[in-house]
Point group: C2
Chain length 161, copies 2
C-alpha cells in the first residue's frame, strides 16, 4: 500500500525544524532607498563546514501533483537555499533524521513569493516547481568533497495537496 | 542641461567590468534530479572583506522610465547580488571608479530571468524594478561596520530605454 502525505501551507513555524522560509512577511528591519524599499535582513542561517557560499542557477522541469516521492537526499557539508525566480509555487518535502535514514516525511507547498533555506544535513526531496518558470537561484556550498547522500524508499509515497 | 544615458541590454560581456549576470544561459555544468534539472554552477564572485554571506529579502516600489538618476552608492566591504523573485525587468546603473567618485555611468536593463552580482565596491544605483513584484533576494555581506558610501550628482541624469 502506498502511503499518502498531505502537503501543508509553508509557514515559518511549521518549517522551523528544517530551515527558514524566505519571504518578505512581517516587519522589515529597515527601509532603504529613501523609504522606497523594505529590507528584510539576514533571513537564512547559512552554514558550511568548509568551502564557501556560492550562487548557482537551477532550471528544472515542472512536477505534478499528486507527486510520487521516491527519494530524499541531504547535504552533510552545507545548507542550501532555493529562491524561485518567478512568482510560483513549489513542493518542499523534508524529514527529520532517524538514525541515518529519513524519519516521518512532511510536505509543504511554498506559495508565490516564498523561498526556503534548508539547514545543513536536512533530508529533503529534489526541486519540485509546480508552476512558473522552473528557474531558481540556489545558495549553497561551493567546495571540494562529496556533499550528497541519497535515500531511496522501498515503497514510493504519494504527496497530495 | 541634463545628460541622458541610454540603457543597453544586459549581457555578461558588457557587464563584466562590474559583476556577473545571473541567468540560466549557456551550457549547464551538470544535470541533476535524474536529468530533470540543469545546474548552472557557481555563477557569482562572492567577495567579503570580513563578515559572511547572508540572504535578505528586498521589497521595492517600482521605478519608471525615463529614470531620474541622482545617486550612486557602493559597498566597500562586500559584493551584492540581486535576484528577482518574479519574471520581470529591472534597471541596473553602474560606473567605474574615477578617483573616489563615479566615472562615466552605464545603464543596463535586466530582462526576465536575469539577476546580477555586483562586485565589491562597484558604484551602482539603488534597486529599480521596472515591472513585476518588486521582490528580490539579496545576497550580500552580513557584518559589523559601515559598508555604504553614497555619491549624489550635482545634476541628475536621465536614463532612457
Amino acid at each position: 500500500m502506498t502511503s499518502t502525505i498531505t502537503a501543508q501551507d509553508l509557514t515559518p513555524e511549521a518549517f522551523a525544524p528544517f530551515g527558514e522560509v524566505l519571504d518578505a512577511s512581517g516587519t522589515a528591519e529597515k527601509f532603504i532607498n529613501q523609504g522606497r524599499c523594505a529590507r528584510h535582513h539576514d533571513r537564512a542561517k547559512l552554514d558550511f563546514t568548509d568551502g564557501q557560499a556560492g550562487i548557482s542557477l537551477f532550471k528544472s522541469e515542472l512536477a505534478e501533483m499528486p507527486y510520487r516521492l521516491e527519494l530524499l537526499e541531504r547535504h552533510p557539508l552545507g545548507s542550501q537555499a532555493f529562491i524561485p525566480m518567478s512568482q510560483s509555487r513549489f513542493l518542499v518535502t523534508v524529514a527529520p533524521d532517524a538514525g541515518g535514514v529519513p524519519g516521518a516525511v512532511q510536505a509543504f507547498i511554498a506559495r508565490a513569493g516564498q523561498g526556503v533555506n534548508l539547514h545543513r544535513n536536512v533530508w529533503h526531496g529534489v526541486l519540485c516547481p509546480l508552476d512558473g518558470a522552473g528557474l531558481y537561484a540556489v545558495v549553497d556550498r561551493i567546495g571540494a568533497g562529496s556533499n550528497l547522500e541519497e535515500h531511496w524508499f522501498d515503497a514510493p509515497m504519494t504527496v497530495t495537496d
